[in-house]
């Protein structure tokens, strides 16, 4: 890997925000195509962060600082990506379901998905089913991500899926659910398509499912 791309890759892995910004600018100034910077340095780094998380070399704080560095670099790169007509690998509408105001898991998933090349529309917390429906109509995502931290609020995931079905939108999106109380069995029971036990696997599973449907990769 080229030195500057390697520097971007290393800076993201170590969560060094200032260095990522400087190196992305240096790479652009040196004439590296935005798509190469994104794929070979940034997405590759976040994939490595995910791998290290799964093997317990990295933990939540390390993921948070890496994802923040990725986000900083991506903000600088975005104009060049738009200029080069490089599209995101997919679009995700994400939110914490109605009645639940916890956001750490949802934010982490959002950052990791962005790091994996998705465009993320973050609806925030305490999002009622009808707001998810409206966002799907407006943004036309491929994936809808639902987060909950409480056993009492995760029931709103079912209500959200039912609202998407009632609006005739259910078949147009992959519904991914996650959060501390959510289990694979619960995900099956409420009719979700994907269950993500934690942030790192959310990105990998979304990409994999999306690829199965002829999207990314």
């Amino acid at each position: 890997m080229d030195d500057v791309l390697q520097a971007i890759y290393d800076s993201i892995l170590e969560g060094r925000v200032t260095e990522v910004a400087a190196e992305v600018q240096r790479a652009l100034a040196a004439g590296h195509p935005a798509g190469v910077i994104l794929n070979q340095a940034m997405i590759a780094a976040m994939a490595e962060v995910g791998r290290r998380f799964e093997t317990m070399e990295y933990f939540v704080p390390e993921m948070l600082v890496a994802a923040r560095a990725m986000k900083e670099g991506l903000a600088l790169l975005r104009p060049a990506l738009v200029g080069a007509q490089i599209e995101p690998v997919g679009k995700v509408v994400l939110g914490t379901v109605s009645g639940d105001l916890h956001d750490i898991g949802k934010n982490l998933v959002g950052m990791v998905l962005e790091g994996a090349g998705f465009e993320v529309v973050d609806l925030g917390v305490n999002v009622p089913p009808e707001a998810f429906v409206a966002a799907v109509r407006e943004h036309r995502p491929q994936v809808v991500g639902l987060s909950a931290l409480l056993t009492t609020t995760m029931l709103a995931m079912k209500a959200t899926i039912e609202a998407l079905r009632a609006a005739g939108l259910r078949d147009q999106v992959v519904v991914m659910v996650g959060g501390a109380p959510v289990t694979p069995a619960f995900a099956d029971r409420i009719g979700a398509d994907l269950y993500a036990p934690e942030a790192a696997s959310a990105a990998a599973r979304a990409r994999s499912r999306f690829a199965d449907q002829g999207g990314a990769e």
Binding site: F59, P61, T151, T152, P181
Partner: protein
Amino acid sequence: MNVAERTRLAFTRVGLPDRVPIHAWLGMTFIQRTVLPRPARMTDLFHQWIDDPLGTLVKWQADLGLDPMITTHSQHIGELERWPRLLCDFKEDAYAHWREEIVEIDRSESSRTLEHRIHTPAGEGAYSYRMEGYSDWPLDYLIKDEADLDLLHYRPDPDLLVVDRLKAMVEKVGDRAWWLHHAPGPWNEAAELRGVTTLSMDLYDRPEFVHKLMRLVTDRLKKLYRKLGETGIHSVSMNETWVGMGLSPHIYQEFIKPYDDECVAAIHEAGYLVSYHNCGRGTRFLEDMVATGADALETITPVENSGDFDLADVKRRVGDRICLFGGFNERLLDEAAPAKVRDEVKRCLDAAGEGGGYILRTSGAIYQADPRNIEVMCQTARDYGRYPRPAQGAGGSA
């Protein structure tokens, strides 16, 4: 053997109780739906609990077959303001340099958003949260930058806490229930003051700041723990929930454990027992949590319930050094068949019951459950959890 004697033996591991103690934390939604004769306002409920704990909290749990456990709370920033303040509030003097102005900044049919504006000699600060149903949700945090740490010097002094009502409630209950008072541990309090996401990134961005914050909250918590020693409570649940968010052993050892050690020592000096509360993940630094000197470890949340603990593994690794307080997957109480509930009880007792030092407890609070399943859980534990225990696999009378 009464409830307190039974649970004390499990906590201290100095001998075997007659059987494994059985505790659970009944959530407000469960209480409102199941055991209350009619809906009640929360403030009225809290007054009933304080005035008549034996006829309310203790009775409801005993009727289900549980060993009753009273879970009171200390006041902490941004959460659960009402119940703790009814039990213990500060003398007026405590607010001489910490004036709080509470402003309602939003209201809907189901929620209120409040901002606390703090005035101190070191300057102004603010935090806000939303109150909805039985929960309060932090929206932003008091410590927004390093300069805000100075505000913390002016927080009400725990020495000026009036604990008479809590003490009277404890005396009324005596040994008919186990008292587990909840108070934050230093990492949790730091997270409540700073926000856990920001605090997590501070570990990398400004580690010295994290140590300063932890020092300030630890010094104050130690005073709180000493004050609570005047009430006669049996134990405190030192709430380090955010330790379970998924931290590395290195982070735990450097930024959290030294402060936890001090708090556990302060609780022991005050003459009561401490249960270390981590309701998330932590199997990678299990031995470190035990090395804080805590008497019990809760809630030993299994993988199926988003923790990462295997009760049998925990027993093998640290069961000779600490009481294990949890491990039961309470989700089964909602919809599972009674046979599955019995199997779960037996799994827990087989994993951790041998030799004592184990309390069967639901890992999380019970918000939704079929009361008949709680009765099955309790009866199975009463039969299968007797000491001396039957040989494993021999079944039980449940």
